[in-house]
């Protein structure tokens, strides 16, 4: 099996050289974070991920979680690794200082999340969900709630969950049935069944804080009648000690395709005591804090699987000897050449590389926008960043997970028959990846959110927030001869993006079904253009470094070569998505429901 090697050099390239994160922190007024501190973080995070988490990647998959009468046991080593994670202070990087957090911007933690996730996605979901619970409480909890739950959640001694889905509803939460009955003491009794609750029950922390959606008696129907509650597994005395068990129990765990080390639970709430978060019937709005957090977290998962697919492929392709290069032997002393000399193998590897590195830049950029929203004092900047996140979050979540799955498929293919064998780990990467296009809102739901709710509902304004940035970038670099092939292509696609959006908008005014008919192709189309933007920026940086003279010539040249590959061999896919959108709706809706199958 290929051991995970944390791509620290590439992370430094993105953070320092492309996105100038140090300047960004200065502008935010974050004084105490500098490049050397970030580098130290990266080094330590890389060590932890490679030594502790990658070591239990395969065994965690084989062993999986086990359920016995309400108790869930995680695979061997998961608990110990989590303890070290807590002791190392990793859960608290972004947490509020008031509650024991280190108060650092979100973007400081993003690379750590990527590394822990790539080394072991199933494991990393336990702390990942806690981050979302923390963000939700920080934003919507009362002072008392914050004081009660945040210190232990921030330190990682307790973990969190999000409880949305029920057996009959996932995408359509308006049908939610779980009930919350008010009690005289101001608490609520929560009763209902939630399914697919990641980390709903496990043995890694002293308490689990469920963030749960439920309906008050007499609440309006649909999504406007949903409220949000805190339901702790164990009651707490307010000073961090846990006491009596609350009436919430895990009924069973799912047997899944992948992420076997993560417990996916059926949670039964049987008159469990809960505490309202935020206003009555506004639960879905509050939960969106959590969901947006989780969506970006899932976008990281796309990058993680692309990176893991890339590394598995590289490991095999440089070792495995088969056939001779068509342009002459490259390994004349051996019986054959390493398969990386063959163009078709390169095509697959470069595809995974282009998605992993392009995706990384996109995610880190998004995390920086998140910093601005959370910490900037400049109102206009906050508004702008908020709009940027609203647009890019569904694209990052759906596009990066879709290409993450594709990359995992390539990772297997490069390894040939060995790729299909469990010991090698390449097939686990695909099994683990496949959930990412489904949970936290399927690709289809993200696409509706992007095209319907965000873009068309704002008459295209939401898109212009970003296309303007690209346009300005292209204008500013129009005279850069070296960058020209990239800038020209990016500029023309950027314009096409606007035109295509307008054309869909016109059709959608005639028929609202047009949105669903075009949405996924539109999202993928948008994703390719976003990555083209980030790749162009990376080429610009690489050109500058090369012109200035560097000892790392090979590194920067490989950036340019990968960008070139991306533009020539992957970006043309926009044509297919555009063509499909222009193919229209009629061919989708004409067929009778009963004629689908015979």
């Amino acid at each position: 099996m290929a051991a995970y090697k944390a791509p620290v050099r590439d992370m430094r390239f993105v953070m320092h050289e492309v996105l100038n994160i140090e300047d960004h922190y200065k502008q935010l007024g974050v004084e105490d974070v500098d490049a050397s501190m970030i580098d130290a973080f990266l080094e330590e995070g890389a060590k932890f991920s490679m030594n502790e988490l990658d070591a239990i990647y395969r065994s965690g998959d084989e062993e999986g979680c086990t359920f016995d009468n309400g108790t869930v046991t995680t695979p061997k080593g998961f608990k110990e690794a989590y303890q070290k994670y807590v002791e190392g202070g990793w859960p608290s990087i972004n947490g509020d200082v008031e509650y024991g957090g280190q108060g650092l911007p979100n973007s400081c933690g993003i690379a750590i999340s990527e590394m822990t996730g790539t080394a072991n996605w199933a494991w990393s979901m336990y702390p990942g969900l806690s981050h979302g619970a923390v963000a939700t409480l920080e934003e919507h909890g009362t002072e008392e709630q914050k004081a009660t739950y945040l210190p232990k959640l921030t330190s990682g001694e307790w973990t969190g969950t999000m409880c949305l889905t029920e057996p009959h509803c996932g995408s359509d939460l308006g049908q939610l049935k779980t009930k919350a009955e008010p009690q005289p003491d101001g608490t609520y009794k929560i009763t209902g069944t939630k399914i697919w609750i990641s980390a709903g029950e496990h043995d890694m922390a002293d308490n689990i804080i469920h963030i749960c959606l439920a309906r008050l008696p007499g609440a309006p129907e649909g999504t406007k009648g949903i409220s949000l509650f805190i339901v702790p597994k164990f009651f707490t005395d307010g000073n961090g000690s846990v006491g009596e068990r609350n009436a919430v129990a895990c009924g069973s765990i799912e047997h899944k395709m992948g992420i076997h080390g993560n417990a996916t639970c059926v949670m039964n709430f049987d008159g469990a005591t809960g505490y309202l978060i935020g206003p009555e019937n506004k639960g879905l709005n509050c939960m969106f804090t959590f969901m947006n957090f989780a969506r970006i977290g899932t976008a990281i998962q796309g990058v993680a699987h692309a990176e893991r697919g890339f590394q598995a492929a590289m490991d095999f392709a440089t070792e495995r000897l088969a056939m001779r290069s068509l342009s002459g032997p490259k390994n004349p002393d051996g019986p054959a050449d390493p398969v990386i000399v063959h163009p078709d193998v390169r095509r697959m590897i470069m595809t995974t590389k282009a998605f992993a590195e392009g995706g990384r830049a996109m995610i880190y950029y998004l995390a920086m926008q998140g910093d601005v929203v959370r910490q900037s004092k400049d109102e206009e900047a906050v508004k702008q960043a908020d709009a940027m996140m609203a647009l890019l979050t569904p694209i990052a979540k759906a596009f990066l997970t879709e290409v993450g799955v594709e990359s995992a498929i390539h990772g297997i293919q490069v390894c040939g028959g060995s790729g299909f064998i469990r010991e090698w780990g390449a097939e686990q990467n695909l099994r683990d990846a496949k959930i990412s296009t489904i949970y936290e809102g399927t690709t289809g739901i993200q696409a509706l959110d992007l095209l319907g709710r965000k873009i068309l509902m704002s008459q295209g304004q939401a898109l212009r927030v970003f296309t303007k940035v690209i346009h300005k970038f292209c204008e500013a670099n129009a005279d850069d001869e070296q960058l020209k092939p990239f800038v020209e292509k990016l500029g023309s696609l950027n314009k096409e993006w606007g035109d295509l959006t307008q054309a869909i908008g016109m059709k959608a005014m005639q028929n609202p079904e047009e949105v669903g008919g075009a949405s996924v192709d539109y999202l993928m189309y948008s994703g390719y253009i976003c990555l083209a933007f980030f790749w162009t920026q990376m080429v610009k940086t690489a050109n500058e470094k090369l012109a200035a003279g560097t000892t790392e010539e090979a590194f920067y040249k490989s950036k340019i070569a990968t960008a070139d590959f991306y533009f020539k061999r992957l970006l043309p896919r926009t044509m297919a998505h555009k063509g499909a959108i222009e193919g229209g709706l009629e061919c989708l809706m004409a067929i009778e429901q009963d004629h689908f199958m015979f």
């Binding site: 996932g170 000897l321 689908f596």
Partner: protein, 592 residues
């Protein structure tokens, strides 16, 4: 849960109405007895068998998998009984040579049968399919005596067969193979070496297993020209030709895999095992390759079968699952929400699956008919044209079927949302089972090289031109057909695109050694989309004439969807291909 009904109407439509297969069969003495009625009856019986016998074992076979204990492999519960039923019904003999107990059914019929067994239980299907491959090879290359000894028992299914090619250090590149064959005085050979990834190498379904093994004679030339083929039975035959003494071949272990868990993938250790040469010395690879065209399309059908069961299951789920309201207004007013089949994006997914599955079924039947012509026609010119077409389209079918098959299974899983990820529902198994088809029997990268290099560049594009001439001839003949007037221009464009890309390929091949490999995969994909376009137009033309065909509207609509929403991919692929090889080869290995 998995839902599957053998798609008999569509199979008959393709075979009888689109291709009028019975006319071809009637024209050739070897297949003259195969009538439309007989073919229909066979398909109908096959449908009953796969639905009743194979499908119920599929989920549990995956959960249980094969087990290995000290050289003995046990298949999942129920496999052995199912296998006995399968062979007693004669399915193992379906396309075997009648001279040795086979039923001599045409490949154009067998491909539809194979699609069904893959759809319902692809792990199970691999055992008889591997035996089919071995019998084909023996029938073509073994001595009369060997054929008489082995073929009847293999056709009856009492014995199974395997193909032993891959070794730990070589799969794609068989030239560096190490297994040795040392001649004995009695004309037999002692075979020693290790083979891996041997499907059905050991199991409990049959009384004997006949391994076809590639090995090197002492002093054989280096590389792929020094490989010979040997028959190595698990049990040596006694004087009455019954399995007797155990031969020196053992299963060392089985692999733990992503999918096809009910199929035993074995490490086979040959330790002075006795074997007999099949065919000529050092001609083993060529002998093995005679069955490749048959095998490769059968493996492609794994993708098609799994794509279809995934589609059928997804349709059921989409009609059942209530989430959200249709954008154009409420469709299910009495329910809490509308079935998700009303959402445009869900339809996009379902129609993509369907258009790819039905395009594949048509191509499988088309290639099957060409294989039948190549094998049975008495007209030498027709035979040679068909052989040429088979050679051209086999890599396309294998790779495009299996690539689109995985894509289709992934879409089916997506339609199920979270349920798609949970094992009990069965959808994730289809993805795991489909994944191997892109790898074995020559990875799809190898198929693409075979197509672009050997089948196109090496003969200057002659085979492609012959194909294009046929397709364009059909378009010309259907110029006035009102039923397909709206798709013919796109079909003409698509054929022209393939023509242009072929010319590019030939031009670049001369100047750049890496050009073919760098664009082969995209070229194969374009080929796939273009040939589906032709076959979709043919199906639409037929459907518009068949006014009494119950699925006429659905066929026409799905075809239109194919042209409007999927065929544009060919143009994107063309742009990628035209980017050339420099973008891939420029980077130094260390810089990756």
């Amino acid at each position: 849960m998995a839902t599957y009904k053998a798609p008999l109407d569509d199979m008959r439509f393709v075979l009888n109405d689109v291709f009028e297969a019975d006319k071809l069969w009637a024209s050739m003495p070897a297949t003259a007895e195969v009538t439309r009625d007989l073919a229909d009856a066979i398909l109908e019986e096959a449908g009953k068998m796969v639905e009743g016998v194979l499908l119920p074992l599929n989920r549990q076979g995956d959960e249980q998998g094969c087990t290995w204990n000290d050289g003995v492999v046990t298949t999942p519960e129920g496999f052995k009984d199912a296998y006995n039923t399968y062979r007693e019904m004669g399915w193992t003999a379906l396309s075997g040579n009648p001279a040795f107990g086979g039923q001599g059914m045409p490949k154009s019929l067998a491909v539809l049968f194979e699609e069904m067994i893959h759809a319902t239980n692809t792990s199970f299907a691999l055992y008889p399919l591997l035996s089919n491959g071995a019998t084909l090879c023996l029938d073509a290359h073994a001595t009369q005596e060997m054929k008489e000894t082995y073929l009847p028992k293999m056709y009856s299914g009492e014995w199974a067969g395997t193909m032993c090619l891959t070794e730990p250090h070589c799969g794609t590149d068989l030239g560096i193979m190490r297994t040795k064959a040392v001649p004995n005085d009695d004309g037999s050979y002692n075979i020693t070496g290790t083979k891996i990834f041997i499907t059905g190498g050991e199991h409990d379904l049959t009384d004997n297993i006949i391994h076809l093994v590639l090995a090197k004679l002492p002093d054989a030339p280096a590389g792929s020209k020094g490989i010979s083929l040997f028959l190595v039975p698990k049990f040596l035959l006694d004087d009455n030709q019954n399995p007797g003494e155990r031969n020196g071949v053992q299963c060392g272990s089985i692999e733990h895999k992503m999918g096809i868990k009910g199929s035993a993938t074995c490490v086979m250790n040959f330790d002075d095992a006795r074997g007999w040469m099949v065919g000529e010395p050092n001609q083993g690879l060529a002998a093995m390759f005679t069955m490749m065209n048959y095998e490769r399309i059968s493996i492609g059908l794994q993708g098609v079968g799994l794509g279809d069961v995934s589609y059928q299951s997804a349709v059921e789920y989409a009609k059942d699952r209530l989430q959200g309201r249709a954008a154009s207004g409420v469709q299910n007013a009495s329910g809490p929400a509308d079935p998700i089949i009303h959402h445009g994006d869900v339809r996009r997914m379902l129609l993509t699956m369907r258009a790819l599955n039905e395009g594949a079924r048509a191509l499988a039947a088309y290639v099957g008919l060409q294989l039948d012509t190549a094998k049975f026609s008495e007209d030498a010119a027709a035979r040679s044209a068909a052989e040429d077409r088979v050679a051209l389209l086999t890599p396309v079918a294998k790779a495009f079927f299996s690539d689109r098959g995985l894509e289709t299974c992934i879409i089916g899983q997506q339609v199920f949302g979270g349920h798609g990820y949970v094992r009990e529902w069965g959808m994730e198994q289809f993805v795991r089972d489909a994944r191997i088809a892109q790898i074995y029997e020559g990875t799809n990268g190898i198929q693409a090289l075979d197509l672009a290099g050997r089948k196109v560049a090496r003969n200057g594009g002659k085979s492609v031109q012959a194909f294009l001439a046929d397709a364009r001839g059909w378009v010309d003949a259907n110029e006035g057909n009102a039923g397909i007037a709206d798709v013919l221009p796109a079909l003409r464009d698509a054929l022209q695109l393939l023509d242009d890309l072929t010319a590019d390929l030939l031009n670049n091949a001369g100047s750049d050694a890496d050009a073919i490999s760098a664009s082969a995969c995209e070229y194969l994909d374009v080929f796939g989309y273009v040939i589906y376009a032709w076959l979709w137009a043919r199906m639409m033309a037929t459907a518009s004439d068949c006014t009494d065909y119950p699925h006429r509207d659905a066929k026409l609509l799905t075809g239109r969807f194919y042209f409007q929403r999927l065929l544009p991919k060919a143009h994107a692929l063309a742009a990628q291909m035209r980017a050339g090889s420099e973008v891939m080869m420029a980077m130094d290995e260390a810089a990756f």
